[in-house]
């Protein structure tokens, strides 16, 4: 299975809101860096929390892959995340707002597992769509 196939398995599972399925493509000691959520470290537990929070907060999650770029053992996916907020997310209270957010996820694959994930998006865009007014008062509408 190619690096691109392994990443596609992860993304396809997440698009189905299947966190267990997505995590099956990930090494236990995966290195995770998601600056917008201040997540930086090693281990699949942090990644699982990120994915669980996403599918819980946006139960109608729609994930659309715009482009996949394979550069050796690195696979970068440009995608759009859409959904309607149904639970608190990243500190923002639920105001049932619609989210649409372009993101880029950079995966490093070794053998048959993802060993590193770096995810990039603009949290300011996310908060704007969820009707957050201030970065230092996330939970105040």
């Amino acid at each position: 299975m190619s690096a691109q196939d392994i990443v596609a398995r992860f993304v396809d599972a997440l698009a189905q809101r299947d966190v267990d399925g997505a995590m099956s493509s990930v090494a236990g000691d995966v290195r995770v860096s998601i600056a917008p959520l201040h997540v930086q470290g090693t281990g699949s537990a942090a990644l699982r929390t990120v994915l669980d929070d996403l599918v819980t907060a946006f139960p109608d999650l729609l994930l659309t892959v715009q482009r996949t770029i394979a550069t050796g053992d690195v696979v970068t996916v440009q995608l759009k995340v859409e959904g309607t907020q149904a639970a608190p997310y990243a500190g923002a209270i639920n105001q049932e707002k619609h989210l649409d957010l372009d993101q880029a996820w950079r995966f490093t694959v070794d053998g048959d597992a993802v060993v590193a994930i770096d995810a990039y998006w603009c949290q300011q865009q996310l908060y704007r769509r969820l009707a957050v007014k201030r970065l230092d008062q996330l939970a105040i509408a």
Partner: protein
Amino acid sequence: MTVTVTRPRRTPETATAVVTEFFDRYRDHDVEAMTDLCSLNADFSYVPFEIWGKQRVLRGDGKVRTVGKTLWRGLINAFPDLTNEVRSVSANDDGDVVVQVDIGGTQQLAWGFAAPTGRAYSEPHLFIFRVGEDGLIDSVTAYWDNAGISRQLGHNEVD
């Protein structure tokens, strides 16, 4: 006599080299030289760039020679010590180059809605380039977190 001019074939190595040079020139604040590495009609997309006005939203999408140059010049003016540190570069045979780079500087002039406070920022960015067969950059796309930058600059409003 027939003279044949051959251009070097684009390879992952040559694509990486042109993108590395792009960031060297960016570090030197030489916007014209950055632009010279791009094709005449190169596409530009700074995905997080989004300014909401009363009647329209201004986005960082367009062409390198119009939107790109304007944003690069504005950023350098607002952050005169703007710099970058390339963390990783990966490329393929199709001319795609993916770059992890930290960009930062100290604010001296207004940038967007952020008033100058003299504070500095450094934020991870992901750049995705497409380098054409002629060795010039055909498209520039970038992702980063503006909330991270705003917090570091002391600007807490979600504009």
